[in-house]
Amino acid sequence: MKKIRSIISGLVLTLVAATAHAQTEIVFYHYQTGAPGKTLRAILDDFQKINPDVVVKDIYKHSEQITGEVQAALAARRPVDVTSVIGKNIVFFAGATPAVALNDPKNGDTRWLDAYLPNFLDAGRIEGKIYAIPHSYGTPQLYYNKDIFRKAGLDADKVPRTWDEVIAAATQIKQKTGMAGVAHLHASMGDYGTMVMVTNAGATYLNKAGTKAEFDTPQGVAVLQMWQDMAKSGIMPVANDQQWGAAFQAGQMGMYITSSAALRGFVASAQGKFDLGVAQYPLWKEQPRRVNNSGAAIMLHAPAGPRREASLKLLRHLSRQDVSNHWSRETGYMPLIRNPQADPAMAKYIAEFPLVRPSIAQMAETLPTATWPAEGTLEAQVHIKNMLDELWAAKRPASAIVPETVRKVNEALSVNLKK
C-alpha cells in the first residue's frame, strides 16, 4: 500500500512539475529579414525572457507573399497566431480569417491600445472594432542628394517644401547637370504612390469601405497632371521603384520620394559617396500635409485559450514605448507610440541622427492607408496601374485619363455594393 501511495505521489509531482514548466508556443508570421529580422528576433527573445512560459516561433515570408502564405496556413489549419499584414489587406483579412478584435473586453484590459496614436490605429479600425495594431509603418518623405543640389547651383541647406519648389529644383538639376531631377515611388500596382499623391493634394483616394474611388476631383486631376508633366519634361525618367531607388543610391538622381523605411539603406549607400538630405513630404498648394502610412500592421488570429493569452501578452509587449522605440531606431520604421521623445533613449537617438526627424514630424499628419475589399480589387488596381502608364506616356492629359480610370475602378468595385 505504501509503495502504491509513493508511486501515485511521484506521478502527481511529475505532473505538477511538467505543468509548471509547460510552455505555450505561438506562431508569428512576418516579412522582416536581414537586420530588421534580427532586431525582431531579439525583441522576441527579450519577451521570452520576461515570459518564460511562452515560446514565439517566428516564420519569415517575403512581403509580397506573406498574405497568401498566411491564407494558405490558415486553410491548411496550421497554427497562425500573430501575423504582419500589409495595410491594404486588413479589411479583407478581418472578414476572411478568424481575426480577433483587440479591443473586445473579452480579451482583458484593453488600455494598452491607448499607447498608440489614434490615427495609427485607424487602418485597423472596422466598425468600432480594432483588428490591427501598427508595427512596420513607413511614411513617404523626400530624400535628396546635397552634392547634386550644389552642382546644380541650388542651396543644399534650403530644402524644397512644396511641390512647386520640388519641380523648380528638379528642373534646375536637369538643366544644369543633365541628371534626373526627381521621382515619386509608385509601389505595387501603382496603388500606394497614387494614393499618397492624391490624398496629399486634398482628394479622397478610396472611400472608407474601399468600394469607391473618388480622386477624379480637381485636386486629384491637378496633382496627377503634375506627375505626367514630370515625366513629359524629362525631369523624372519613367522607370520603376527598383530602378529609381538604384539610381538615387548610385548618386545619379537629385531627389527621390519614397518610404521612410528606405532611410537605413540610403544612409548606408550614401556613405562616402554623397551627402544625403531628408525632408518632409512636399506640400500641395495651400493644403495641409496628409500622407498615408505604408507597411504592415499586426493582427491576432490565435484561438481562445492559452495561445490567445500568450499572443496578447506579446502584443502588449510590442506596444511598450521602449520596445516600440527600439524597433523604430533599429529599423528606420516610424515611431508608433505617442510622444516618442519622452523616452530618453529615443530623444538621444533623434538628437544624434537628425535624418529621422521628418518621419517623426509626420506622425501626426499620417492617415491610414486605403484598404481594398477582396472582390474587384485586382481589376481596379490594374486600371490604376494602366492609368499611371498612360499618364507617363503623355498622349492624353490627366483630365481625360483620370475620370475614365475612376469610372473603370468603380465599375470593378461595384460588385461589392451589390451584396
Binding site: 507573399q65 498574405t67 497568401g68 491564407q71 494558405a72 490558415l74 486553410a75 489549419r77 479583407f92 476572411a96 480569417t97 478568424p98 534626373a180 505595387s188 500596382m189 525618367p237 519613367v238 522607370a239 520603376n240 527598383q242 530602378q243 529609381w244 538604384a246 539610381a247 548610385a250 545619379q252 538622381m253 481594398w372 477582396a374 472582390e375 480589387t377 485586382l378 481589376e379 490594374v382 486600371h383 496601374k385 494602366n386 502608364d389 498612360e390 507617363w392 506616356a393 473603370k408 470593378a412
Partner: protein
C-alpha cells in the same frame, strides 16, 4: 505433335498462376501511381471543383457553388484579352527563339567535338542562374537612369530606348531575357540528340560529296526530329511559366497590360487578391488551352518524326 512457336520479336505472355491477378507490376508502379494521384490528379480535380465555387481559403467559411460564374468573370475581366493575346505571343515567338535557334548553335557546338565543351558550358551557364537574380540584374542593366545599356548607347552616340515602359517593346524584352536564360538548356538537349547520331552516316555522306547544307537537311534534321518534338512541346508548355518571374519583378504585367499572360493573371487573382474561384477557373482554362495545343502538335507533327536511324 504440332509444335507452336512464338514468332521472333514478340514476347510470350507471362503465365498466370491459376486465376490470380498479377500483383508485382502494380506494386512496382504503386509509388509513382500514388505520387501522381496525390500530387497531380487530385489537385487537378480539386482545382476543377474550386473553379465552380466562391471561397476565400478560409476553412471556417463555406464554399458557395456559383456554377460557371467564375469562368464568365474571367472571360469578362479587363485582364483576360491582353493576357490571352500575350500568351499567344509568348508561345508563338518562343518557337523560333527557343526551339529553332538552338539547333544551329547545337550543330556548331557538336561539330567542335571536345573543343565545344567551353561553348557548351558558357551557353548552359545562364540556365543555372536564379530567374529572380536574372530579372534584378536586367533591371539594373536596362535602368533608364545610368543603366549599362544606356551608357554604352551614349558612348556610341546613340540613345537606348526605355524598353520596359514602352508597351510595344516590353514584351519582346521579357521574351529575349527568357530566351537568353533557357537557350543553353535547349541547346544541350539538341547536342544530346546529335550525340546519338552515328557519325558513320556523316562520313558516308561526306564521301558522297554532300555539302554542309545537305548534311543538315537530309541527315541531321530528320534524325533530330524526336528531340525537336520534345523541345517544342516542353517549350510551349513552359513558355508562359518561364516569363513569370521577369514579369513579376520587372513589369508587374505592364505597361498597360503589355507583358501579362494567363499564368501571371491566375497568380494575381489567386494570391494577390485571394479570388480562389477566378484563380482556379483561370488555371483550368490554361490547362485546357495547353492540352489542346499539345494534342494538335502530337497529331500533326508526330507523323513527321523520325524515331529510327
Amino acid at each position: 505433335m504440332t509444335a507452336t512457336a512464338t514468332p521472333l520479336g514478340t514476347a510470350a505472355p507471362l503465365p498466370l498462376r491459376g486465376r490470380q491477378w498479377p500483383l508485382a507490376p502494380f506494386l512496382y508502379l504503386a509509388p509513382m501511381i500514388v505520387l501522381l494521384a496525390v500530387f497531380t490528379y487530385w489537385p487537378l480535380l480539386h482545382t476543377i471543383y474550386l473553379s465552380f465555387v466562391q471561397w476565400n481559403m478560409n476553412p471556417d467559411q463555406p464554399m458557395r457553388w456559383v456554377g460557371a460564374a467564375n469562368y464568365s468573370g474571367i472571360f469578362n475581366s479587363p485582364l483576360f484579352d491582353a493576357a490571352f493575346r500575350n500568351t499567344l505571343i509568348y508561345i508563338v515567338a518562343s518557337i523560333p527563339l527557343k526551339v529553332l535557334l538552338p539547333i544551329p548553335i547545337a550543330i556548331f557546338v557538336w561539330t567542335l567535338a571536345t573543343r565545344g565543351q567551353v561553348y557548351r558550358a558558357l551557353l548552359f551557364l545562364p540556365t543555372l542562374f536564379s530567374f529572380t537574380v536574372v530579372a534584378v540584374v536586367f533591371l539594373w542593366l536596362l535602368n533608364p537612369i545610368g543603366g549599362h545599356f544606356v551608357q554604352v548607347a551614349r558612348l556610341l552616340g546613340g540613345q537606348w530606348p526605355n524598353v520596359l515602359t514602352d508597351p510595344d517593346l516590353a514584351i519582346w524584352t521579357i521574351l529575349l531575357i527568357s530566351t537568353w536564360k533557357v537557350i543553353g538548356f535547349n541547346t544541350l538537349l539538341y547536342v544530346a540528340g546529335l550525340a546519338s547520331i552515328n557519325r558513320d552516316y556523316v562520313e558516308a555522306m561526306r564521301l558522297d560529296g554532300a555539302s554542309d547544307w545537305s548534311l543538315v537537311r537530309h541527315l541531321l534534321w530528320p534524325l533530330l526530329t524526336p528531340t525537336t518534338l520534345f523541345v517544342l512541346i516542353s517549350t510551349v508548355i513552359f513558355a508562359i511559366q518561364q516569363v513569370f518571374t521577369p514579369i513579376d519583378i520587372m513589369t508587374e504585367g505592364g505597361p498597360q497590360n503589355g507583358t501579362t499572360n494567363l499564368f501571371y493573371m491566375v497568380y494575381q487573382y489567386a494570391f494577390r487578391t485571394f479570388n480562389v474561384g477566378f484563380g482556379a477557373a483561370g488555371t483550368v482554362i490554361i490547362f485546357a488551352f495547353l492540352l489542346a495545343i499539345t494534342l494538335i502538335k502530337m497529331r500533326t507533327l508526330d507523323r513527321h518524326v523520325q524515331y529510327q536511324q
